[in-house]
């Protein structure tokens, strides 16, 4: 579902379209190519992750340390952010605060304009996707070059990301070759190596001439002011090293208190994400280093709904997320419908909770239902976010948010009334077909669920007859 493939106005929220999940999912389920791509991708990454996680005898201890670190940090988030601001400033960086995406976008545009540039090079960053930075910059006449291969494919194809880690997973090689050729790149064939080679030639000149780079952040260390970006291709290193000016947009929940915390997160993130012992490149920088890399560094600390999520006692654990995407790869729902059906920059199980938590329930009511509550996401989460519990909590929120009861609400309230009393329950059993009175009226519910086959005699009636 790409409602806005060529958006000209920035949408400073994660949600990209408001088609309810069931409708969006139905369209995607009919796309057999997409389902083949997704099955191959999720199966491959699942196996890689399981192998490298299995190598660590202390995986559960690392998960618990990661979870506790994030939970404790969120509890005193104000303290850690102030400490981060102090450390970054002392190291020669400049810290900015943004209440929302519009403020952050305006800051990036102002910094770029201040340096007289009409282009920036960008590292793949979900946070800048969330606030639609590229569109906001385009409105100011500034081109943002996506430099991650998959993001480049998505950008040149006027498409949207469908996976946190591999955003173009819904495209196969021949589709990518076509997108590249249409955009003036010169791939020799549709082999992944040739396509990657074409991207290298296309981007290299842009890297070498770039004056301003824009990144997100995986972690930032309050104690030292160090910022961390993990990546694979080297496009991140290019953007972080060659430009004169670097602007990093970071969600406020990415801060970690101490340098030592990295020893946990640099172990759990790559193994959970790409299924590698370590990703090819991790860059860590602290403010400005004389003679090495950008000599001007801006760190923008972004709220954009994070404090709203933080205020939700059950939902706040979603802010522990380190965007590894392990939960997408194990989710039976994601594996079948892909990322676009969620209509959010954040798809999959984590997207189903983080999107309504950041943005509010409006327009996202169907997302907490995009799950069978099987719990696989919780089991693989490296920071132990109890996604099923948050989903159920948000379903409740979704019901409470209805100003007028929906058909589903009435059905479940009626069932609660029946189940709440023994005599009413037995009476209903005698009627024989609990589902029937609802079946015809409540089509949305019954369309994907068959009626219960009712035994001629209920267990209760049988027990009464034979054991009394």
């Amino acid at each position: 579902m790409t409602d806005h493939p060529t958006r000209t106005t920035a949408l400073p929220w994660p949600r990209r379209h408001s088609t309810p999940f069931p409708q969006a999912a139905k369209i995607k389920l009919a796309d057999t190519q997409l389902r083949r791509n997704l099955r191959k991708a999720t199966t491959t990454i699942r196996a890689k992750r399981a192998a490298v996680v299995g190598e660590l005898p202390d995986w559960e201890e690392l998960r618990e340390a990661a979870r506790a670190t994030k939970a404790a940090t969120l509890r005193e988030l104000d303290v850690h952010l102030l400490r981060l601001e102090e450390s970054v400033t002392a190291a020669g960086g400049k810290v900015h605060w943004a209440r929302d995406g519009a403020e952050a976008n305006a800051m990036v545009a102002a910094i770029a304009r201040g340096h007289g540039v009409d282009e920036v090079v960008k590292i793949k960053s979900l946070t800048t996707d969330e606030i639609d930075l590229n569109v906001a910059l385009a409105e100011q006449g500034i081109t943002a070059w996506e430099t991650d291969l998959a993001e480049l494919i998505v950008q040149l194809g006027h498409d949207e990301s469908s996976h946190i880690l591999v955003p173009a997973i819904h495209k196969n090689r021949s589709e990518i070759q076509q997108i590249f050729t249409d955009s003036g790149l010169d791939p020799a064939s549709d082999s992944p190596a040739d396509l990657a080679g074409a991207a290298r030639r296309y981007l290299r000149e842009r890297f070498l001439r770039a004056k301003v780079g824009v990144s997100g952040a995986n972690f930032a260390i309050a104690d030292t002011g160090s910022v961390v970006v993990v990546e694979s291709e080297g496009n991140g290193r290019m953007c972080l090293t060659l430009p004169e000016v670097l602007v990093t947009v970071m969600g406020i929940e990415k801060v970690l208190p101490t340098w030592q915390d990295l020893e946990v997160f640099l172990q759990v993130l790559p193994r959970s994400s790409t299924g590698e012992r370590m990703n090819p490149y991790t860059s860590i920088w602290t403010g400005v280093a004389a003679g090495d890399g950008p000599q001007e560094f801006h760190l923008i600390l972004l709220d954009n709904g994070r404090t709203r999520a933080l205020a939700d006692e059950i939902g706040r654990q979603a802010l522990q997320c380190i965007r590894c995407s392990a939960c997408l790869n194990v989710c039976p729902v994601y594996e079948r419908v892909g990322g676009h059906a969620y209509g959010s920059v954040y798809p999959g199980p984590i997207g189903a909770i983080i999107t309504p938590l950041l943005q509010g329930m409006h327009g996202s009511e169907s997302l907490p239902y995009a799950s069978s509550l099987c719990g696989a996401c919780y089991e693989v989460c490296p920071v132990k976010i109890d996604i099923p519990t948050v989903l159920v909590h948000l379903r409740d929120e979704s019901v409470q948010s209805h100003t007028r009861p929906t058909v589903n609400d009435v059905a479940f309230r009626s069932l609660a009334w029946i189940f709440g009393d023994r005599r009413r329950y037995e009476k209903a059993q005698q009627l024989g077909k609990l589902g029937t009175p609802f079946g015809s009226v409540f089509r949305p519910w019954s369309a994907s669920r068959g009626p219960l086959a009712v035994a001629p005699q209920s267990f209760r009636a049988w027990w009464q007859e034979n054991h009394r």
């Binding site: 191959k40 939970a71 605060w97 890297f207």
Partner: protein, 200 residues
């Protein structure tokens, strides 16, 4: 109210009344006991499709010359000169411009650390590691790691590192799996990574 004050006040309001911050249990392994960490490091680096050679210190300059072959390579000013005595290298002092780096065929550097458990080389932006651009712009990287620099685990490496300098963790050559999840080695950074481990 400034955005800063606004965000801070929203945070304080959001967590008011929550349970106090918990202590973080650190029951995970601090060190990595694998027998010979240098052997394990060599295996793990090779697993990323980097080439690995073990050399004795006396042979180092000859092996470096052999690896470099006819390439025009840059070296950090802090790289011990006896390591590259056999070649005619371009020293990064005064610092080479980006176009000058782009004209090089490769770079020869040292490292700050090696991590055995993950097959990672850590550069620290100075001394023998060189500033970041040297190991980024040229297409070929020969990295010399001394056996004594190899530690077992990620926690051991993090504990050893000084955060205030630019740090780069390198685990194999640059790679992408963005197209149909097929791994392609060599996208932007150096497409080839060769590692020499110097045994004393």
């Amino acid at each position: 109210m400034s955005a800063r004050d606004d965000v801070l006040s929203r945070i304080r309001k959001a967590v008011a009344g929550a349970e106090p911050a918990e202590d973080v249990p650190r029951d995970y392994r601090a060190s990595y006991d694998v027998g010979n960490v240098v052997d394990h490091f060599a295996d793990m680096v090779a697993d990323y499709k980097a080439t690995v050679r073990r050399v004795g210190r006396v042979d180092l300059a000859a092996v470096v010359a052999e690896e470099v072959g006819g390439r025009r390579v840059g070296v950090p000013a802090g790289l011990p000169t006896e390591w590259y005595a056999g070649i005619d290298a371009v020293v990064d002092a005064p610092p080479l411009s980006i176009p000058e780096l782009d004209q090089l065929d490769g770079a020869v550097t040292g490292a700050r650390l090696g991590i055995a458990e993950t097959g990672t080389i850590v550069l620290d932006g100075g001394g023998r590691s060189g500033r970041r651009a040297i190991t980024l712009v040229p297409d070929w990287h020969l990295c010399i790691v001394e056996a004594s620099q190899v530690v077992g685990s990620v926690p051991q490496a993090v504990m050893t590192l000084e955060p205030r300098v630019p740090i780069t963790f390198i685990s194999g050559p640059s790679a992408t799996s963005d197209i149909e999840l097929n791994r392609v080695e060599g996208v932007h950074g150096p497409r080839t990574l060769n590692v020499l481990i110097v045994d004393d």
